[in-house]
Symmetry: C2
Subunit: 196 residues, 2 copies
């Protein structure tokens, strides 16, 4: 049983977050980190996405397929469902193309009405983005800290909960997402700040 727990605590996870950007920026940086459970950083990946573009799904798939850690990875953890503004990630497409389960985690419950209004105002293809954003069930998961809001594909919500629990050290966010956030914001701004 101890060995089993140890093995689980050592699973490799890919955490992804984007850098802060201003609306004059054409590209945003995307950082991926490969961690063993919530403890040991094994690798750092870097890509770019178009701010409010349509390439976030491709960029996630490309990161997964090209990293030399692909075979060890058990799941991808994503801070929300978009990178670089409203550049929405199709998590089902990521899973189907790569065979890697995907879990999205956010601290705050998305305000869907506000998001829909922003999409309608700013994008001709707002309906496509909205459909991607609204797709899949959103679960409210209790943690020892605050609740988080989770979507998952390629694994059950029970498995997703266990991965989140294994990889969270302090607070509510899994380490692979927290560390990706620190790197992305630190490199973009000079000193990291805020929470994933």
């Amino acid at each position: 049983m101890v060995l089993f727990c140890l093995m689980k605590s050592q699973i490799r996870l890919l955490g992804i977050d984007d850098s802060p950007f201003s609306f004059t920026d054409r590209y945003g940086m995307v950082i991926g980190v490969v961690m063993r459970g919530g403890e040991y950083l094994e690798s750092v990946l870097r890509r770019h996405v178009l701010v409010d573009g349509n390439d976030a799904t491709f960029v996630c798939k490309d990161m997964i397929k090209k990293t030399r850690h692909r075979k060890q990875l058990k799941a991808m953890l994503l801070d929300g469902v978009a990178l670089g503004g409203f550049n929405v990630v199709d998590i089902e497409d990521v899973y189907k193309s790569t065979d890697l389960p995907v879990i999205t985690v956010t601290r705050d419950k998305p305000d869907f009405e506000k998001i829909k209004a922003a999409l309608q105002k700013n994008f001709r293809d707002w309906k496509d983005r909205w459909d991607l954003l609204a797709k899949g069930e959103l679960h409210r998961i209790k943690t020892s800290y605050n609740p988080v809001y989770v979507k998952c594909t390629g694994l059950s919500i029970e498995e997703a909960k266990e991965i989140i629990k294994i990889s969270t050290i302090r607070g509510a966010m899994p380490e692979p997402i927290r560390v990706a956030h620190l790197i992305a914001s630190g490199v973009a701004r000079g000193e990291s700040y805020g929470k994933a």
Copy 2:
């Protein structure tokens, strides 16, 4: 005693490493990470130095003075004594200006004859750079893995050894340097590689 060990294992360390660069690059990126002992990443800092320039000492001092974690920091750990090629860090100046002890750690024993020849060939101010590089005693420290080569200022070699021991998890390099290396190389190249 347990509490004392716990406190020591939680000391805040600043680890610094530079990104890989090609000789057509004017600037190299410098990454700083603030960690609690060898375990928990608290912050990521980013600066640039001129490749083969003279600003590495200033950049290190600036990172230390400006981070909001300054008051918690107990030591700075540096991968070698130069950032961005032969941009040598004057670690005594860093210590005197910031009051933060500095430890340099390298995996390989520097080949001083080769370094001196390269400096003489490429720099009019080779003597100044050489004096900085050669300054201070170089200690060979055994670890459970391979030995490392260490210089320190602002603390005793015994204290430096203890900090290296506390902050090393796997292999021979302290985590703050290992993590700074992974971030610097991953952000510069797209995927991190090699050892600090």
